[in-house]
Assembly symmetry: C2
Homo-oligomer: 374 residues x 2
């Protein structure tokens, strides 16, 4: 996924359009289509060249459901809206839901892809690429003994990290959602740029962020099978990923130096694994977490059963958007925590089950981690 | 991009389909669609759920042009073909060219995305993920003084690379095509897995592979402007990328330890920069290279003008597919080299202007690099 300044991105688009035109010299020239076009005032126009299509809609949860687009005499469908952030959207073309074919910036993962558009702010936002020191992202392949397959993970090391130096770092294990893979937190999630900016502004402790792959080769469906899948990921994380990180990187190895957080499916995982293993993780974050099984989930029930022990956690941070379909489940978890007198932070934010929310949650939670006096 | 065994990938797809179904409980259930389906005998069936679409075609250069798909009574369009490799394709849905919305494996870059399908062989191929030691892929952001912007690059370090050890490695600078970005050689190109496999089989020298971003924020179009753009990338590569790599990594810094190769646009860049700077690069590779300006290109003309000096190069490797639209330009370059008596390797292969060809070229050229007795 590209991370470029707005100007550079616009130039790139122009560059590749002109090159495409040059390469297509012999083909008839369709009307030039720019989509999405971000206007200086923050409006965005979406376009689609489809003279033979009969109905085109824009699907984007941030504009509340599908919106019909209108066709002009050249066969270009368009729609203009206003919203500032980084968003994902799809088109439905005669009933087939797909990406915007004119826009090369695509969010990929293990589910259907979607298109991405960034509406920039007048000054750089917390996830923007700024002229500050940048950390490095590492991609590793490793043999998972727990799962019997080769798996991949991403690791962020902060600016100044040097394996030859003596400094040791705390680690945040950051888990993705069901539609994502281990690259999504750094591509669409911009976790690396968010940390770069927090560190440049001295708002967070330098930390290593480990982003493993959360799906496991095991069947999901019934609740029993779901537990098998969930246990399989836990086995991989505790048995393979953590030992790999602690042998390859200069990290601190005590529970007070380990955090675990995740979004959606990954929030369910971070809750079950984090609350189930206080001897390993003393900082737990759950973003729009898939915790609809809170009343039957064994690790969570065990955690709730011993409030005194539970209150030894340094942080339990729960965030959910007001329009998220998982809000009720998260409210139920929060009600149980309140009933038991277990310390926690509940961040009820604007937004739904989408990346604009999760980028903000990481930016809000990361400064709380590993601080000595908080 | 995911790199998984076929079984793991099928399980993933199943997993995410079942999860999508669970999440969509309240919505009416459309027929389950699997696309692409790779059959055990190597046939691939492409499907699209589009009951309201009027015409759907499969666009894939490897089946020679658009093929119409047929609609069944459930509104599912399908087409079955046979070809073993990793391929990219798109659909045209009522005239709108887009990805396969049922397939999460998408090739992204700076141009329109396309869908990806892998037809596996009965035993692992040269680009497959095998149980061998794996190198690491690093993603860096750096300030390009030459271009005045923050840019990103990918670096492959071979298995066993350890900055604390004294060993120093040669470097291959590997450039992408006009539709790609700096991630494409490791995602769709599988350069890291190709090198892992060559090294496991002791077929290549351990080397570091640097994959910079090849587009520059400068206008392309006229030949003068194209030269400016080309020069801008050269300034970034020589002025920023190489010094960055030579300060961050344990690399050898002599011309005999530097190679430069690239595909399409990147092959044009590797030819101009590599042949223009024999004091920096003694190994040059050009894959389906964009060298249509060979008769006016100054660095190439200068190189051709001094065959004695040109023959001090250790390798000039040129590859092009028989169905590539750039074949004539590459043949013209090869004819000039032959006319001047300049040593080179010309690999005229099957295939067109696509990734199946470029993965093979890397696999063929890498074993020739940095060998002491070749």
């Amino acid at each position: 996924m590209l991370s470029l300044t707005r100007g550079a991105f616009a130039l790139l688009i122009f560059l590749c359009l002109t090159q495409q035109l040059a390469l297509a010299q012999r083909r008839p020239q369709p009307p030039a289509v720019v989509s999405p076009e971000v206007h200086p005032d923050g409006r965005v126009t979406f376009r689609l060249l489809g003279p033979e299509a009969h109905e085109v809609t824009l699907n984007a949860s941030w504009v509340k459901g599908p919106k019909n687009m209108a066709k002009d005499e050249k066969g270009i469908w368009s729609l203009t809206i206003v919203e500032p952030d980084i968003y994902n959207y799809t088109y439905s073309i005669d009933g087939v839901r797909t990406i915007d074919p004119h826009n090369p910036w695509v969010k990929t993962g293990v589910r259907a892809a979607s298109s991405t558009v960034e509406v920039p702010a007048s000054s750089p936002l917390f996830y923007d690429l700024r002229k500050v020191p940048h950390g490095e992202v590492h991609i590793h392949y490793y043999e998972s003994k727990a799962l019997g397959v080769t798996r991949r993970l991403h690791v962020y090391t902060p600016p100044g990290y040097d394996p030859a130096k003596n400094q040791r770092y705390p680690v945040l294990y950051l888990l993705h959602g069901a539609g994502d893979d281990d690259s999504t937190w750094t591509s669409i999630g911009r976790a690396n740029l968010i940390l770069d900016n927090l560190l440049a502004d001295r708002k967070a402790e330098p930390m290593i962020v480990v982003m493993p792959f959360g799906h496991t080769p095991a069947r999901a469906g019934s609740s029993v099978e779901r537990q098998v899948t969930s246990q399989a990921f836990e086995n991989d994380l505790l048995g393979d990923v953590i030992p790999l990180i602690e042998s390859k990187y200069r990290v601190r190895k005590d529970a007070a130096s380990r955090a675990i957080a995740g979004l959606s499916m990954g929030g369910g995982q971070s809750s079950r694994i984090g609350l189930g293993h206080p001897e390993l993780f003393q900082w737990v974050g759950a973003f729009s977490a898939a915790v609809r099984d809170v009343e039957t989930n064994k690790p969570i029930q065990k955690f709730l059963s011993d409030p005194k022990k539970a209150n030894q956690l340094k942080l339990l941070w729960i965030g959910c958007g007001k329009d998220d379909f998982l809000l009720d489940a998260n409210k139920k978890l929060v009600a149980l925590l309140e009933e038991k007198g277990i310390h926690h932070t509940f961040r009820l934010s604007e937004g739904d089950h989408s990346w604009p929310v999760w980028r903000r949650y990481l930016n809000e939670m990361a400064p709380l981690l590993f601080a000595k006096r908080r």
